[in-house]
Symmetry: C2
C-alpha cells in the first residue's frame, strides 16, 4: 500500500498519484478519477513520515510544560491545541517537571526535525544550555519569559499583577500581607515577588512574608500557609500565586480556626472557573489562559513561515476579580 502500488494499479506514474493526493490542478479529470478509484481500491494510506522527510516539515509543534496537572497549564495547552489544529498542526506534549535533563531530551525532537517549532511554558529560557539547543529554531515562550532576553514571548505583566494584588488587599485594610510564591527559578515568580515587594514599599507596609510552594498542588499551598500561620507574627492576608495553592491555604486557615476573610483574606491567581464556586468564593487575578495559548501559536506559526520575523514580547491583560475571600 505504497504510492507505487496505487500507481501501478491505476496505470499511471507515482508522480501523478502524488499530484492528485496533494490536489494539484494539472491533472486530467479522467486520470484523476482513475487514481482516486485505485486509492480507494487499495485502501491506500499515505505514509506521513515519508512525506515529512521529503518536504522537511512535520506540521507538529512541541509544547513543553512543567506539569500538565497544573490547571493553568492544561487550559493554556487547550488554547494551543485549538489554534494549532485550526492551522493543520498537531502537538507533542512534554511534562518536564522542570528537570533540565528531560527538557533537553525533548528538545532533540526539535533538532531532529520531528517538530517544526516549540512553545515553552517552562523556565527553559533561564538556562543557557537549553537556549543553545533551541538555537534559532522557531520558539515562543508562553506565560514565562524575560523580555530582556532573546526569544519571543507572550505573557501577562506579572509584576503589575502582583502589585494590583497587594493594593487590593491593602485597600481592604490588611497590613500583614503574605505571599505564597512558586518555584523562584521561574521568571514569573521573580516578577510577582518583585511586584509584591515594591507595592508593599509604596504602601508603607513594613511587614512581609514569602513562602515558596514546591509544586502547584493544594498540599503545597497548605504546607506554605502552615509555615506562615505558625510564625511569630502571622499574616492577616495572603496572596497565592495560583488558585490551586489558595485552596490549600484556605483549608489550612480553617484548620487553624480562622474565618475567611475576617481573620485572613485570601487572593488567588489564574482565575480558574471553580474559584468562583469555593466557599467562600475566591478573589483572584484572572489570566487570559486560552488566549495565551492561541496567541503563542499564532506567533510561532508566523515564525515558522518566516524565520526572519522580528522577535516580539506580547503582554496580555490580566484582571483582578474581587470576591468574598478578600
Amino acid at each position: 500500500m505504497s504510492i507505487e502500488k496505487v500507481a501501478r494499479f491505476a496505470g499511471v506514474s507515482t508522480a501523478t498519484v502524488s499530484r492528485v493526493l496533494n490536489g494539484y490542478k494539472g491533472v486530467r479529470p479522467a486520470t484523476r478519477e482513475r487514481v482516486l478509484a485505485a486509492i480507494a481500491a487499495c485502501q491506500y494510506q499515505p505514509n506521513l513520515l515519508a512525506r515529512q522527510l521529503r518536504t522537511s516539515q512535520s506540521r507538529m509543534l512541541l509544547v513543553l510544560v512543567s506539569n500538565i496537572i497544573n490547571p493553568f497549564c492544561s487550559r493554556v495547552v487547550r488554547g494551543i491545541e485549538a489554534e494549532a489544529e485550526a492551522h493543520g498542526y498537531h502537538i507533542l506534549l512534554c511534562n518536564s517537571d522542570s528537570q533540565t535533563q528531560r527538557e533537553s531530551a525533548y528538545l532533540t525532537l526539535l533538532s531532529g526535525k520531528v517538530v517544526d517549532g516549540v512553545i515553552t511554558m517552562d523556565a527553559a529560557s533561564n538556562l543557557p544550555e537549553l537556549r543553545k539547543m533551541i538555537g534559532d529554531s522557531p520558539w515562543i515562550q508562553c506565560a514565562e519569559g524575560n523580555p530582556d532576553m532573546t526569544g519571543s514571548s507572550v505573557t501577562i505583566d506579572n509584576q503589575q499583577a502582583a502589585r494590583k494584588a497587594v493594593q487590593h488587599l491593602a485597600q481592604r485594610g490588611r497590613r500583614r500581607i503574605a505571599m505564597i510564591n512558586g518555584d523562584p527559578r521561574y521568571f514569573y515568580a521573580q516578577q510577582r515577588e518583585s511586584g509584591y515587594r515594591s507595592a508593599l514599599a509604596e504602601l508603607d507596609l513594613p511587614w512581609s512574608g514569602v513562602e515558596y510552594a514546591n509544586e502547584v498542588e493544594c498540599e503545597a499551598g497548605f504546607a506554605a500557609m502552615k509555615r506562615l500561620l505558625e510564625a511569630e507574627e502571622p499574616p492577616d492576608a495572603v496572596f497565592t500565586v495560583s488558585d490551586v495553592l489558595a485552596v490549600g491555604a484556605m483549608h489550612c486557615a480553617r484548620q487553624h480556626q480562622l474565618t475567611i476573610p475576617q481573620d485572613l483574606a485570601v487572593l488567588g491567581f489564574d482565575g480558574l472557573p471553580w474559584s468562583a464556586m469555593l466557599s467562600p468564593p475566591l478573589s483572584t487575578l484572572e489570566q487570559p489562559m486560552h488566549q495565551l495559548g492561541t496567541r503563542s501559536v499564532q506567533l510561532l506559526l508566523q515564525r515558522i513561515k518566516n524565520p526572519l520575523a522580528p522577535q516580539v514580547h506580547e503582554r496580555l491583560p490580566c484582571q483582578l476579580v474581587a470576591r468574598a475571600s478578600s
Copy 2:
C-alpha cells in the same frame, strides 16, 4: 550536517557513523573516537524523521482524550507520559471534544506511521468508523471501554463503584439519592448509571433522579444541581460523576440555603487531591489515576512489541473515601 558530512569529515563511511551513533559494538575504538570527534566538530544532529522512516518505528504514542482540562484526564495523561518516557517513547496529545471528525483526523497519524500506537480515553470504541480506522494497530482503551468488544482496556469497575456510592449514601440515611452523570455516550457513564439504578432497586429506594452534565466543568455541575433542586421533589443526596461537578453542585446547594451534609449529602468521583480541602471536605470515589495511565502504556508497548499478544481487560481497584460532605 547529515550523516554523510560527518562520515566524510571523519574519513569513514556513513555505515560506520551510523554504527557509532547507535552504539554498535563492532567498531574499533580508534575509529569510534574519530567519528565522535567529527560528530562534535560538525555539531551533527541526527534527523529523527529519516531514522523513523527507515526503521518504521517512531517511538511516539497518540493519546486521545476528550478534554485535557478535566483534571482526571490530565492526571491519567501524566501517568501515561511518565511510563512512556521511561521506555523512550514520546506522546502526542489530542483533545477530541468527543467530536468524531477530530478524532478521525488524529487517527490518520496512526495509519500514517507517525505514531506506533494509540491510547484512547474517549468513547471511540463505541463508534464503528473509528474502530475501523484503528484497524488492528496497537490500541488500548483507558478508563473507558466495553469488555464485550474487541480492543484491550484498563478501567475500574464503574458499575460496582456507583453501587458503592449509593450504598454509602443510603447507609447515611439518605432516601432520595440523585445522580449527576456525564455524557451518556460514554460507556463509563452508562455503567455508572446502571450501577446507580441497580443499587437503588436493591435497597428498595423508589426515588431516583439523574441529570446529565454536558461537560466536566463546575458550571455544568451547578446547572445540573439546579435542575435537581428546583424539581418538585428535591434530593437529599447527590452522587456526581466527577469531583469537578461536585464543586458546582455544592455551590448550588449553598446558594439554595442548604447545608452540606445536613440538607444535602454530596459524593464526588475521581479523588482529586483538592477534594479533601474543600469546605466541607468532599467524600469521593478514588480512582487510581496515575496507575490507569502507566498500566495502559505497559499493555500498549507489549502490544507493539508483539502484535499478536492477546487482548486483555484489566480492572483496577477504586475505593470510597468518606469525608464530611456525606
